[in-house]
């Protein structure tokens, strides 16, 4: 079905492909989670990675980041095979991860959470500095000396995104960035994601707010039971209520 839906789409060219996964098979113990998943992100592109709970979205992300080792398949960054690379080496090739559940360091202050992650991009340029992050997230600027655990959910999410930006990534992976946030705060986060996208950073967005994801993304990829069942322009998916219902239950 994927092939059929993608018949008109040219494959991502190797030249501008930032992150690519080919034929990934990932297991948790004896549970086969990913069944030969192909996935690619091009430079500056925004992809909505969708699927109901337990379909393998987070596992796909973790497999590409080396946090979970796929049993089969290849992960490459800018054409370089990183399948067996350490997570920190994959991250250093320009990939930042905002995990589900945020992953702030509660024993570090807001300032320390940001400073400890600071690094130039792969070309040695630091477009995102501490000052720029604080300018983007003024709320964090007011709480620099607070412990990470003392922040509200929205502030924690801003801190995680800000910390990811401090690594000056070419690709930002956002896994359920608005989960559990009040609608007003979630709207603020979406605004920030939009601004990040506009700044030219490629993004992979995983979120249950499918409408917002599709409105923001260039392409959508849908996983069902560890298989890619749709990969194409987001509009193609949002304009097709039948596909939406079949794959996402909405």
């Amino acid at each position: 079905m994927t092939e059929a839906l993608n018949a008109s789409r040219p494959p991502a060219s190797a030249a501008d492909t930032l992150l690519e996964a080919a034929g990934l098979h990932t297991f948790y113990g004896i549970s086969h989670i990913l069944h030969g998943v192909d996935f690619a992100v091009r430079t500056g592109e925004t992809i909505g990675l969708m699927g109901r709970n337990g379909m393998g979205k987070t596992t796909l992300i973790k497999s590409m980041l080396g946090l979970v080792r796929p049993r089969q398949g290849i992960v490459s960054v800018r054409g370089v095979d990183m399948t067996h690379a350490e997570t920190h080496a994959i991250a250093r090739s320009g990939i930042a991860y905002v995990p589900e559940g945020r992953g702030i360091f509660p024993n570090l202050s807001v300032r320390e959470n940001l400073v400890m992650a600071a690094r130039a991009n792969v070309k040695g340029v630091s477009e995102w500095t501490f000052d720029r992050v604080i300018h983007t997230f003024p709320r964090l600027g007011e709480r620099l000396n607070n412990g990470g655990a003392q922040l509200s959910g929205g502030e924690q999410q801003m801190l995680t995104i800000g910390r990811a930006l401090m690594t000056n990534p070419d690709l930002l992976i956002l896994d359920e960035a608005t989960e559990g946030l009040a609608p007003l705060i979630a709207r603020e986060i979406w605004g920030i994601i939009k601004a990040i996208r506009a700044s030219g950073i490629a993004t992979i967005i995983v979120d249950k707010n499918y409408a917002a994801v599709m409105a923001l993304s260039d392409r959508s990829v849908v996983l069902v039971k560890g298989r890619v069942v749709f990969s194409g322009e987001s509009r193609e998916l949002s304009d097709n209520p039948d596909l939406m219902h079949r794959f996402l239950g909405v």
Partner: protein, 289 residues
């Protein structure tokens, strides 16, 4: 107890406490940040003392011996972490206890083979071998003051490293979420190797500088290990600040205990630990620093 005698006991207690801190700080960092219960930590104190004796016998200088021995202990720490300890991070504490207990036996056997089973004395450096007169009959050795000064400097350095540097932030972050640290492009394995080597070197250094006071003898690490675990429990696992406060409290309690209530001296620190455990089970500075 007159003032001069009190002052001497106070200085002795502080010096002992600061020395304990050198050993306990490494133990608490390795336990709190890497999650490793290192029963062999006292062995590195012993190895430091034997290296100080052995190398100072060869070179004729304790200072030279220490300068040679420190890099050796750093290399030993890094090698052990890479070879053995790193395989324990994802395992149950039981495996850690078994392996590190095994290391105690291996180190004791190696010590016996290399250095023998005799007790040895180490000379205090000539420059520090005199005493400061406090009263007509009482004086205080300069070497003990020098040890306290060096320990204080190391404590300040350790505080600066852990609390004020980016490496320290990464170390603390690694204690709360190892996976996330890696996802930020930081080589957590390298950080763990450095933390382990630092802890080992601190324990060994404590053994080196204390060798002229305690002499050098087989199984000398055992007693230190037990008292350092008490320090870690009282101070709070992973807290360097807690280790410092608890070391000083224990140093003073044990020293004054031996003077004031010698028949109960052996119980004082364990009584203190029991009180702290009832009052604050997570230790004085519970959680991680």
């Amino acid at each position: 107890m007159d003032l001069a005698f009190f002052l001497i006991q106070l200085l002795n207690g502080l010096q002992y406490g600061l020395l304990l801190f050198l050993v306990a700080s490494g133990l608490t960092l390795i336990f709190g940040i890497m999650g490793i219960i290192n029963l062999a930590h006292g062995s590195f104190y012993m190895i430091g003392a034997y290296l100080a004796w052995s190398l100072s016998s060869m070179t004729g200088s304790l200072t030279a011996a220490i300068l040679i021995a420190i890099p050796l202990t750093v290399v030993l720490g890094m090698g052990l972490e890479r070879l053995l300890i790193q395989h324990l991070y994802k395992r149950d504490h039981l495996y850690q206890v078994l392996l590190t207990y095994g290391l105690i036996l291996v180190f004791e056997e190696l010590r016996s083979v290399i250095w023998g089973d005799d007790v040895h004395g180490v000379a205090v450096p000539a420059l520090l071998s005199h005493s400061i007169p406090l009263t007509e009959n009482l004086s205080y050795p300069v070497y003990r003051l020098a040890i306290s000064g060096v320990c204080l400097l190391l404590a300040a350095g350790l505080y600066f490293l852990i609390q004020k540097t980016r490496l320290g932030m990464m170390i603390r972050a690694g204690a709360s979420n190892r996976e996330m640290v890696q996802s930020l492009g930081i080589d957590i394995k390298l950080i763990y190797t450095l933390v382990f080597a630092l802890g080992i070197a601190l324990a060994a250094f404590a053994g080196m500088i204390n060798a002229p006071l305690s002499s050098v003898f087989p199984n000398m690490g055992g007693g230190v290990l037990i008292i350092c675990f008490v320090v870690v429990v009282i101070g709070g696992i992973g807290s360097v600040k807690g280790a410092l406060i608890a070391s000083l409290v224990i140093g003073l309690a044990e020293t004054f205990g031996q003077v004031l209530v010698p028949e109960l001296a052996g119980m004082v620190v364990y009584f203190l630990m029991a009180v702290v455990l009832v009052w604050r089970p997570e230790g004085l500075f519970g959680g991680r620093s």
